[in-house]
């Protein structure tokens, strides 16, 4: 059974194997297919049109399914690997340089100021192992700007304020919605998920954000927050239930897989558990 662990508690060996599996997916070309899929959904999900991956109730089940697909790909390389999660609320935004996440034996650090280029770690361009091929511009090196401009990560209190919202989602089921999903996604309110993308900067701030491996650790934690929300609000379920134009209802299957509906993805435990 897959156990998703806090990245801060991974052993050196677990980090090494996770990184090696990422590099192998990249080498084989499979990694970039995930980047392409994400970017296509980012560009086509609109507030007043069909919306599936983002700015809609299915943001959470869509990313759960997307991460499952990615985790299975990793496990096809190394069956011992599970996606770790990054609890950005406890990682200390002002102290990222001391976080093991950004150390050179794991994801590497921030980009240099001149061009945002990440220069250490396994994903630095100089290794030759991490060419950026799916993006909106011709720059082929991984970029970051951690906490640039004095930006901060969400605090535990801000996470708590969103977890306390008892309604999953509300009309108009988009970036203007009130409720848990949109506050977690970040288009409204204290802003959790979106803000983390912006805080990392570089590729993470773009539609091709999975170019940065931290994408998976970020979304694994967003996914864990959904599980935590379900635990706190056992009487609240996914909404909308049925008959909503342009929006994925509870029992409708999701593109691009067409094999699972939000209802099929509400319970993560058939697929993986968390360390805590």
């Amino acid at each position: 059974m897959t156990v998703r662990k806090n990245q801060a508690s991974l052993t050196a060996e677990e980090k090494r194997r996770f990184v090696a599996a990422l590099l192998e997916l990249k080498r084989s070309g499979r990694y970039d297919e995930f980047v392409t899929t994400h970017n296509a959904f980012i560009m086509s999900d609109t507030d007043h049109g069909e919306r599936t991956g983002h700015r809609s109730p299915s943001f959470l089940p869509w990313h759960r399914r997307f991460l499952l697909e990615f985790e299975r790909a990793l496990q096809s390389v190394d069956a011992s690997v599970a996606l770790p999660y990054w609890d950005w609320s406890s990682d200390g935004s002002g102290a990222w340089a001391r976080s093991s996440l950004w150390a050179s034996d794991f994801l590497g650090g921030s980009g240099r100021s001149r061009d945002g280029r990440v220069t250490d770690g396994p994903f630095a361009a100089a290794t030759g192992n991490w060419p950026i091929t799916v993006g909106v511009d011709g720059r082929t090196y991984l970029r970051r700007a951690l906490g640039a401009g004095g930006r901060t990560l969400p605090t535990p209190a801000e996470v708590e304020s969103v977890l306390s919202m008892s309604t999953y989602d509300m009309p108009p089921w988009n970036s203007a919605s009130d409720g848990f999903r949109n506050h977690l996604e970040g288009w409204r309110g204290v802003n959790l998920h979106n803000r983390v993308h912006v805080w990392v900067g570089g590729h993470m701030a773009t539609g091709a954000s999975p170019n940065d491996p931290v994408f998976w650790l970020h979304h694994a934690y967003v996914d864990k927050l959904w599980a935590e929300w379900q635990r706190r609000h056992p009487g609240s379920g996914y909404l909308p239930a049925a008959g909503t134009p342009d929006v994925v209802d509870l029992h409708e299957t999701m593109r691009p897989w067409h094999d699972m509906s939000p209802a099929d993805l509400l319970d993560h435990t058939p697929h993986y558990t968390f360390d805590a």
Partner: protein, 126 residues
């Protein structure tokens, strides 16, 4: 897909408006068609040099080939930048997708900041 057919209708209306010599903004029929999907009118056109690069925005939908365009196209050095309008009227672009700004001009400037001189690649044509 309803979104596609609506956009096709919008594009056709805009093309007709252009052919009829209607300047800049969409013709009333097109604006009415768009109002179902977008609460606000189309923002003003702009054309300026920002940090050494020409940024341009136009409500002429015929000029762009968005995937799901808002009837408004933005260009950086004449390459189209994919932009999107949020329900609250704010804007994002594909290079700054999680950080809404108030106007398409602000999205274009944010893109120039992010690009640090790199040329945009043309939008995929699918």
């Amino acid at each position: 897909m309803p979104e596609l057919s609506r956009r096709r209708a919008l594009t056709t209306a805009a093309a007709l408006a252009t052919a009829a010599g209607v300047p800049s903004a969409l013709a009333p029929s097109a604006r009415a068609a768009g109002a179902a999907g977008h609460r606000h009118g189309s923002p003003a056109d702009f054309d300026e040099v920002y940090r050494g690069r020409r940024i341009r925005g136009t409500s002429s939908a015929a000029g762009g080939h968005h995937h799901h365009g808002p009837g408004y196209a933005v260009f950086v050095d004449d390459v189209e930048l994919h932009v999107m309008r949020n329900a609250d009227g704010s804007w994002i672009s594909v290079v700054s997708h999680y950080d809404p700004v108030p106007t398409p001009r602000a999205a274009a400037r944010a893109a120039v900041d992010e690009l640090q001189g790199a040329p945009l690649l043309p939008l995929p044509s699918n």
